[in-house]
């Protein structure tokens, strides 16, 4: 599980300065008095065949970002180019035509399946929308998909309420695969599942990626799972990406204080090491995205906050190939050995996990 060399591959998805602001109306005349900056100017690329993990606390805008990338929400600003097509400017009809290329797997397998449709109906819906298969062809395709995700063919005529959570998520995955997409946004696909099932689903996703050459944007708050599946990871905080790096680099040498804090919270599987782990506990709450801090978004909770952070927004700097950070510490001091201690520690954990994987 080495990071693919970014430059060697073609970016399939290019997100540039994507913003999604939900307006807030208020006051006597319901004027627009502000906006919730759910996604506030994020940019990243996803290369063909790779998995980009998006991590962050709940409410940081990662799900919204995922939906905005697929243009399920209309972005306020910015562009999303998938396979050379700028989907942020397409007409509704043209967008509809490009939908087969990009699909989504949802967080809650219960809520993402229409309780009044059969499994066959749910998996077949994309086929109805985008293909003109005959009844038999469609059925064949549905079975094929069910086989692919490991569902018993006999279940085709059942309704979702008859299935377990993991099976439902398989249905959702089968639906996403129906049109042979190239890019799938997995929006916390395992968050609502039992731990034992989670691994099955993630493994399924990996299998499918290999088999069909899929590109994933894998949104999760489960850092260990992301580490397992992702090739590169982007860390989001309050609508912004604070750090992007290949998975090993990020886990081994996080540069942003927030990333550090997040990683410190990952449970240590080895009890002997548990004691040596330094947990960074962040103080205070996440500020409201309607009213983010003036300077760096993280300045209110950052353990290493400086005066500069409170007034000036940090710009994103590429500190190494494929590793970008938005932090004044980096900008001022370069990558100087400030975080060295941590690096070593994480290297160790990485190795152990690597063995497990």
């Amino acid at each position: 599980m080495t990071a693919p060399h970014p430059t060697a591959q073609r970016p399939l998805v290019q997100v540039r300065d994507l913003k999604l602001h939900f307006p807030i109306y208020g006051g006597f005349f319901r004027r627009r008095i502000g906006e919730v900056k759910a996604v506030d100017g994020i940019s990243f690329d996803i290369y063909e065949g790779e998995t980009l993990g998006i991590v962050g606390e709940s409410g940081c805008g990662k799900s919204t970002a995922g939906r905005a990338v697929l243009r399920l929400y209309e972005a306020t600003e910015g562009s999303v180019t998938i396979d050379g097509v700028d989907i942020s400017t397409l007409s509704q009809e043209a967008l509809r035509k490009t939908r087969p290329m990009m699909q989504m797997v949802f967080q809650d397998p219960q809520a993402s399946l229409n309780p009044r449709m059969t499994v066959a109906g749910i998996i077949g819906e994309p086929l109805d929308e985008h293909t003109r298969l005959s009844g038999a062809e469609k059925l064949a395709r549905i079975y094929e998909l069910m086989d692919a995700v490991g569902l018993n063919r006999d279940f085709a005529n059942r309704y979702p309420h008859a299935f377990s959570g993991g099976q439902r998520q398989r249905i959702g995955i089968a639906r996403a695969l129906a049109l042979n997409p190239r890019f799938i946004v997995c929006d916390e696909p395992i968050a609502a599942l039992d731990v034992s099932i989670q691994a099955q689903v993630v493994n399924l996703l990996e299998e499918l990626q290999e088999k069909f050459g899929l590109t994933y944007m894998f949104i999760s708050h489960d850092l260990s799972m992301v580490r397992h599946i992702a090739d590169r990871v982007a860390v989001m905080y309050l609508g912004k990406i604070v750090e992007v790096a290949p998975v090993s680099r990020l886990y081994d040498a996080p540069l942003h204080p927030y990333t550090e804090a997040l990683l410190s919270a990952v449970p240590e599987p080895d009890p002997s090491l548990e004691g040596t782990k330094q947990r960074i506990v962040l103080k205070g709450d996440v500020p409201s995205p309607a009213n983010p801090p003036k300077g760096c978004n993280f300045c209110t909770r950052c353990p290493k906050v400086m005066d500069l952070c409170r007034t000036v927004k940090p710009s994103t700097v590429e500190v190494a190939p494929g590793h970008s950070v938005a932090c004044h510490l980096i900008n001022q001091n370069g990558i100087a050995g400030r975080t060295g201690g941590h690096e070593a520690e994480h290297n160790q954990t990485h190795n152990q996990q690597g063995e497990v994987a």
């Binding site: 208020g26 006051g27 006597f28 005349f29």
Partner: protein, 336 residues
């Protein structure tokens, strides 16, 4: 909350204006004519003159504008003056005159209001008083014989049209048995015990019929709302804490169940004023409902328009009150 209320009130103004316009145009388009109940012996020229004297010669928008001015400025000033006793509040000039009676519409409405309030208001009150305990008990003992009977009676309550129960009651209670008068004496002043009894007797039948209907509806709401709450976790918790059943049901469950019921009751209040058209007709209670239908039959445009807009105002107002009540009673709901 305050801005929410103010905003809703302000928004209500264009809504009401539009309602007034729609009703006016409907009446304007409607084929009825205020002259239609005049005897045929009155020749056409004279009818035409009478029509002109009613102001029907002017273009519709002028008449609408005039009505609007009178309704929003002159009439409120008179109502205010009558209520406060300060005569200087009155805006001089013509008032909204009914075609049928040639007298100010507001005066007639004020005259009819007490009768409607007495009969319809009282039956609404009785309806609530009867319905709430029945609703509580049928929910508490769901599927018991009491619940089944209560359900049946309340179903019958709103399945029996008042135009059917009314005459039936008259036949039984007035004609055959002779308990109650069939014609309500609207001049009766309750100043003695005997007159009070008389008033009770003449109100008995219409109040009974309407109470049955109102109670039927409120019982259903009360029962459903109680049922919703009885299955909630907090009820189990309360019981587990060792509270007596009486306190669990009458304090915890009832308080929460009343929230939707109170708003339903508030929403129903405008119907007290609009009167029960059919019941009033059947029992000859000359209230606002009877006034409205009489005015519609007589194509009395100013009367119908004024009454309808007053009703519309009440409906809008009580909708708002219901919303506010909901927010006040239910801490989960907040308007900003």
């Amino acid at each position: 909350m305050f801005t929410f209320t103010m905003r809703r009130l302000l928004l209500a103004i264009p809504t009401l204006l539009f309602i007034a316009l729609v009703i006016f145009l409907l009446l304007e388009l409607s084929p009825g004519d205020p002259m239609s109940d005049m005897p045929l012996t009155i020749p056409p020229e004279v009818r035409q003159q009478m029509r002109l004297a009613l102001g029907l010669g002017e273009a519709w928008y002028i008449r609408f504008y005039k009505w609007l001015y009178l309704f929003s400025v002159v009439e409120p000033s008179h109502v205010l003056a009558n209520m406060t006793g300060y005569d200087w509040l009155r805006v001089e000039g013509q008032r909204i005159l009914s075609f049928q009676t040639r007298s100010p519409v507001a005066d007639i409405i004020a005259q009819r209001l007490p009768q409607t309030l007495w009969v319809v208001g009282l039956s609404y009150l009785f309806g609530i008083l009867v319905a709430v305990p029945i609703g509580i008990y049928s929910a508490y003992r769901q599927y018991s014989w009491f619940d089944q009977a209560g359900t049946f009676v309340s179903m019958v309550g709103f399945s029996l049209p008042t135009f059917f129960t009314g005459p039936l009651l008259i036949l039984i209670c007035s004609i055959c048995v002779g308990w109650f008068p069939i014609i309500s004496d609207t001049t009766l002043v309750v100043d003695s015990w005997a007159n009070f009894l008389k008033q009770l007797r003449q109100m008995a039948m219409p109040v009974f019929v309407l109470t049955l209907y109102n109670a039927a509806q409120i019982t259903r709401f009360m029962r459903a709302s109680m049922l919703d709450n009885l299955t909630q976790d907090y009820v189990r918790t309360a019981r587990a804490k060792g509270m007596t059943e009486r306190i669990v049901v009458l304090v915890h469950v009832l308080r929460n169940s009343l929230i939707p019921v109170v708003t339903v009751i508030a929403l129903g209040i405008p119907t007290i004023f609009t009167g029960a058209i059919i019941t009033e007709q059947v029992f000859r209670v000359n209230g606002l409902g009877a006034l409205l239908i009489g005015a519609i039959y007589g194509s009395d445009i100013p009367m119908v328009l004024t009454l309808s807009v007053v009703f519309a105002i009440l409906i809008v107002l009580f909708n708002l009150i219901a919303d506010i009540l909901y927010a006040v009673l239910d801490p989960r709901i907040r308007y900003d």
